[in-house]
């Protein structure tokens, strides 16, 4: 009898502990300062308590819970849906007794590295408590329609195991490095330039570089990783950037470039237009390249990746930078993008070129 009681008691304690560990407290603590309201909202988001976060949203925002959920957690398979809020930085820009503006910089950890999002949030005092006036990301909804697309893709018939030894395979596409520049930045050597698919078939392209020392020894080897458009269609040009941290250009005698291309099945769609590209200063005074991405196809692009190539007045590539957008590209709907430009190079930028990589969940190739 004593043993049974002990077992039941242990079970009840376990249930209580499990419940305590899984059930979050949803107790709402009113914010007494504008900054506190913003921080409380994002702290709740950080703890995956979007309902709790919504409690800090002012009813005047006219945003329902579902819309707010999509705003903070992402939608349409965008990069935000694979992100987690890591950090929040707030700064009160102006405040009076009933209203305030708080510049909020959120840091999200994503599969492609940290992403920063800066917003100037309006905060209002309601019934003695501060609440955030949430501006929802309004997304235009397209009317139901059929968008005709002539899909173009390349398929490959490779040599089979039973073919005789003379049967040739289809060759890999010819790619050529059309420019290369080596610079020293941030305590490292950076190799950048452009590569072109000179063939009539698509290719999966990567560019590797080897730094060679004074006596021809190998100092380091790296590849361009995601600072390149890997899938290049016929005649397409992609920038590449290869970073060698903690290296000095003075130690490098020469650089061996290794462009490589594989013939792959590929699709020519979707086409993404880059609208209204312009260099300008952002709210914090930094030079940024801004514009909008327009998906001209009928399918959703989940994760767009913008690559920017900057040229000096001699047409030489002086920098390559990139940025991911945490919003999906819906068909025919412009989405803004912003790419940082190095301040030390901004004055030397004579022209630039923007290309877009895309990752789509529903697309096999």
């Amino acid at each position: 009898m004593k043993g049974h009681l002990l077992a039941i008691g242990t079970f009840l304690v376990l249930v209580v502990l499990v419940a305590a560990g899984t059930v979050h407290s949803t107790k709402f603590i009113p914010a007494k300062t504008p900054e506190g309201a913003v921080r409380s909202l994002f702290d709740s988001v950080k703890n995956n308590d979007v309902t709790g976060a919504y409690a800090y949203v002012s009813p005047a925002s006219n945003v329902d819970n579902a819309t707010f959920l999509k705003d903070v957690n992402g939608r349409d398979g965008s990069l935000r849906t694979y992100s987690k809020l890591e950090n929040v930085d707030t700064k009160v820009l102006n405040a009076n007794g009933n209203e305030a503006t708080v510049r909020t910089t959120t840091k999200w950890s994503t599969a492609v590295g940290p992403m920063f999002d800066t917003r100037d949030l309006k905060v209002a005092k309601e019934d003695g408590d501060w609440k955030v006036v949430w501006q929802s990301d309004k997304q235009a909804t397209l009317p139901p329609q059929v968008i005709p697309v002539n899909y173009l893709r390349w398929d490959i018939i490779r040599r089979g195991a039973e073919d005789d030894w003379g049967a040739q395979n289809v060759e890999s596409p010819r790619v050529r490095i059309i420019s290369m520049n080596a610079v020293e930045k941030d305590g490292g050597v950076i190799i950048l330039g452009e590569v072109r698919n000179e063939d009539t078939v698509p290719g999966f392209v990567s560019v590797g570089a080897t730094l060679l020392g004074k006596s021809g020894e190998t100092l380091a080897e790296e590849t361009s990783f995601d600072k390149i458009s890997h899938t290049l269609l016929p005649s397409e040009i992609s920038p590449y950037r290869i970073d060698f941290p903690k290296r000095k250009l003075a130690d490098v005698q020469s650089v061996r470039m290794q462009p490589a291309a594989l013939l792959i099945p590929a699709s020519a769609d979707p086409v993404i237009g880059v609208l209204h590209q312009r260099l300008e200063k952002d709210a914090s005074g930094r030079t940024v390249l801004r514009g909008e991405l327009m998906n001209q196809s009928g399918m959703t692009v989940n994760i767009p990746h913008v690559l920017a190539t900057y040229y000096d007045d001699a047409g030489r590539v002086i920098w390559v930078s990139d940025a991911y957008s945490d919003k999906a590209l819906l068909p025919q709907t412009p989405v803004p993008f912003s790419v940082d430009v190095r301040e030390d190079l901004a004055k030397n930028v004579h022209s630039y070129r923007v290309t877009v990589n895309q990752y789509s969940i529903d697309r096999v190739q």
């Binding site: 002539n150 173009l152 040739q168 009539t200 016929p234 397409e236 086409v271 237009g273 590209q277 312009r278």
Partner: protein, 291 residues
């Protein structure tokens, strides 16, 4: 006297045995062909064990001396030098020649090539018989390269089983059929002949289709894009449309589809639209103005 008789008898027996042995001489075939049966004449009598050693294997069996040794077709598939040994000590060598050409291993390079380039297509043909023996005697090998009605042909005699050629790419694009033939054997390869860089790139503003009315912009489209020889530039080739206006620069990397490239650009009165493909620039258009 009796001992002398036995010695003479023994000597006579030795001479007889030696004579019998000479009688088992092998007569190797003079013109054996791979994959064909052959026979070797023997003399003598009694049984012996025959060993057949060739480039593709070895065989062993009991044969009757005085009868022809029948070598089966499957024992002579590999061309080359063969040796026949009998357990009685006799030996003969003979050669098996390759049979008639029945297979060609055809190496054609490259698989894609620009049009109108001299000496860029190479073809190497290795001539084999039905048993994968390289046919060493000279065989005429014909190389044919044809695409869209154009045809180039060359006949080359093989040397030690190999014939090769170097041909020009045709002036017309398309999948060229590159055929090597020897006798009634033909092997086909495909060499894709591709158009060169675009020539005379020209675009125009076109009315939007019904499905494109909500794009809030203009639709620009090129004329059919061809190279300087009149060949259609392959579909999928990137053509970049640019619009420069007060709001900045808009670019669309369009793909050629069905011979033309097309893009949606924002409506921008006063903007300037340009088009380029690779290093080739086309015309410019003022939106809301003349060309």
């Amino acid at each position: 006297m009796r001992r002398l008789f036995w010695v003479i008898s023994a000597l006579a027996a030795c001479f007889f045995a030696a004579d019998v042995a000479r009688a088992a001489e092998l007569q190797a075939p003079q013109s054996a062909v791979a994959g064909n049966a052959a026979s070797i004449a023997t003399s003598g009598s009694g049984d012996a064990t025959m060993y057949l050693i060739g480039p593709g294997g070895a065989a062993k069996r009991t044969v009757k001396l005085g009868q022809a040794l029948e070598l089966k077709a499957e024992e002579l598939r590999a061309a080359g030098r063969y040796t026949v040994l009998l357990s009685t000590g006799e030996k003969a060598d003979f050669f098996v020649a390759p049979a008639k050409p029945k297979q060609i291993a055809f190496l054609a390079r490259p698989s894609r090539v620009p049009v109108a380039k001299p000496g860029v297509i190479t073809g190497v043909a290795f001539v084999f018989d039905d048993f994968k023996n390289l046919v060493l005697e000279a065989v005429p090998v014909k190389f044919d390269l044809s695409v869209q009605g154009t045809n180039a042909s060359e006949t080359v005699g093989s040397k030690l089983g190999i014939a090769w050629t170097k041909m020009n790419s045709a002036s017309k694009e398309g999948a060229a059929q590159f055929v090597a033939s020897a006798g009634d054997v033909k092997v086909n390869r495909v060499v894709q002949q591709t158009a060169g860089e675009p020539c005379n790139l020209h675009m125009k503003i076109v009315p939007a289709n019904a499905g494109e009315k909500d794009t809030h912009g203009i639709v620009v489209e090129t004329d059919p894009i061809r190279d300087c020889s009149g060949n259609a530039v392959p579909d999928g080739t990137i053509v970049t449309f640019s619009l420069v206006d007060a709001k900045g620069r808009t670019t669309v990397d369009s793909r050629i589809k069905k011979g033309v490239a097309r893009a949606n650009l924002p409506a921008s009165p006063g903007g300037m639209v340009s088009v380029a493909a690779g290093v080739v620039s086309g015309n410019e258009l003022h939106v809301g103005g003349g060309q």
